[in-house]
């Protein structure tokens, strides 16, 4: 056992190692989650603003109409979409669905594409 482990090939050339697609989905799931964590008060503010009285709502509209804020909103939209889609995939994996390498790769690709597409579609509708 010990000898077998020693014989394993090591490939730790960081310049050459490429994260496989499921790995990219996984790290983006983590990054989007951390991003949503830090913007959580802002997200609650967004809900609050949409529910505020008429005059407060006007202020809210000017705030979210700012190009920089819109860009942040687009980022949040993507973060939510990716975290959501990747999360559904992880739940399926927890139930041992889609564990085969090829399936795992194709669902990972689907997660990336679907979450980007939804971001573009919904973002386009709201912009």
């Amino acid at each position: 056992m010990q000898a077998m482990q020693k014989k394993r090939p090591k490939h730790l050339d960081l310049g050459k190692i490429r994260l496989p697609l499921p790995g990219i989905v996984s790290i983006l799931h983590r990054i989007s989650g951390v991003g949503l964590f830090f913007t959580l008060p802002f997200i609650i503010y967004l809900l609050g603003g949409s529910l505020s009285s008429a005059e407060a709502f006007e202020t809210y509209r000017t705030v979210i109409a700012h190009p920089l804020v819109k860009l942040i909103l687009l980022g949040l939209l993507w973060a939510y979409m990716h975290h959501f889609c990747a999360g559904l995939r992880f739940l399926a994996l927890d139930f041992h669905k889609g564990l085969e390498l090829q399936t795992a790769r194709s669902t990972a690709r689907t997660v990336i594409i679907v979450s980007l597409a939804l971001t573009v579609i919904i973002g386009g509708m709201l912009w």
Binding site: R30, F37, P41, Y45, L51, D94
Partner: protein, 114 residues
Amino acid sequence: MVNRIVVGARYGLRDWIMQRATAVVMAIYTFGLVLFLLTMPGTYEGWQAFFKTTWVQVLTQTTIIALLLHVWVGIRDVWMDYIKPVGLRLALHLFTIVWLVGCLIYSIKVVWGL
């Protein structure tokens, strides 16, 4: 099955399950909200009236609590994975708790229109 010697430590299974369960709650809420958005009259008044309904407020608040528990497990995992100095890690855990409790209080204000 893994044969472990029980020493009174926690293995995190409960957190693992909580993270999944709260994820399901949020997913159901999201689908419900999308369904409403697709069928509602599409006005600002309709949106406001919807969120003034008690059952919507209850479901929203419950989902937000699920969200906060979900975030707690997820962010704690991130700190445990990347932050090795114990002092700093504990400080970040504390910050996370304070941040999330603050979010809870703020969400109560927003959801119930206080």
